[in-house]
Symmetry: C2
Subunit: 144 residues, 2 copies
């Protein structure tokens, strides 16, 4: 469904959301360990999300990544769009460039329906909503 890059991105963003209340910051090494991802790879991904303003960062000692309060209200759809683009939300299920409402592929309308549900689900899933259950160890971002 998502690229590996996107899976890491979502996990990292949720992790950062959880780890950085009270304005504290969390380092790349800790993030990579916290979500079981390659350190340099997730660093790259966060650089991009940082440029796009989804996450803040600061260099130097005591530096690291953190979220602005408002970013807790960002949705998983925002992350997916930046990392994987809007193919998942808009693209043809059979990969046809010219597929459209008026020139549909055979599964166009069936697909439209489930795709819309995926989109709605991802748009309604806000970063802030995952924190509590993680804190209570009811959900996990790496091998539990």
């Amino acid at each position: 469904m998502f690229s590996k890059t996107c899976e890491y991105a979502i996990r990292a963003m949720i992790y950062i959301a959880q780890q950085t209340r009270n304005g504290s910051r969390v380092g790349i090494r800790q993030i990579a360990a916290g979500i079981d991802s390659p350190e340099h790879f997730i660093a790259k991904i966060l650089q991009e999300l940082s440029r796009k303003g989804l996450v803040e960062s600061m260099k130097g000692p005591t530096g690291g990544f953190y979220l602005e309060e408002a970013s807790l209200n960002r949705s998983l759809a925002d992350i997916v769009k930046i990392v994987d683009g809007d193919q998942l939300f808009l693209g043809c299920g059979l990969g046809l460039k010219q597929c459209s409402e008026t020139n549909p592929c055979p599964i166009h309308f069936k697909f439209k329906k489930v795709r819309k549900e995926i989109q709605t689900m991802l748009e309604n899933a806000k970063l802030g909503e995952f924190i509590e259950k993680l804190d209570r160890n009811e959900t996990f971002l790496r091998r539990g």
Copy 2:
């Protein structure tokens, strides 16, 4: 959502279903042209689908690919499972190997729901059902 390979596979199977009523056969070259895919690549894919019994083939002059009557009742889910595996139906949305009902990732239950709908949609989509609209040019498998 699907790999390129799987997109081609689905398009090819629907195309073969459409082109081969009355026991006629359709060649690789025509299939590739009919669905806009690389000839050698779709050949490989059909070899696998043939080994798995989703499609029949015959070598030599007047040879080609065709479907047994019963195969018209095969679903897109059958194709997806063979080509892409069951990752789409069973895998964790965030790529976590250990994710499960008792050890869920943060989006496990939201995902389960939409994934199930995708599966149901694909299981209910039978190869035979696409033929009529293709015949009437109401849907397309390549640039219309």
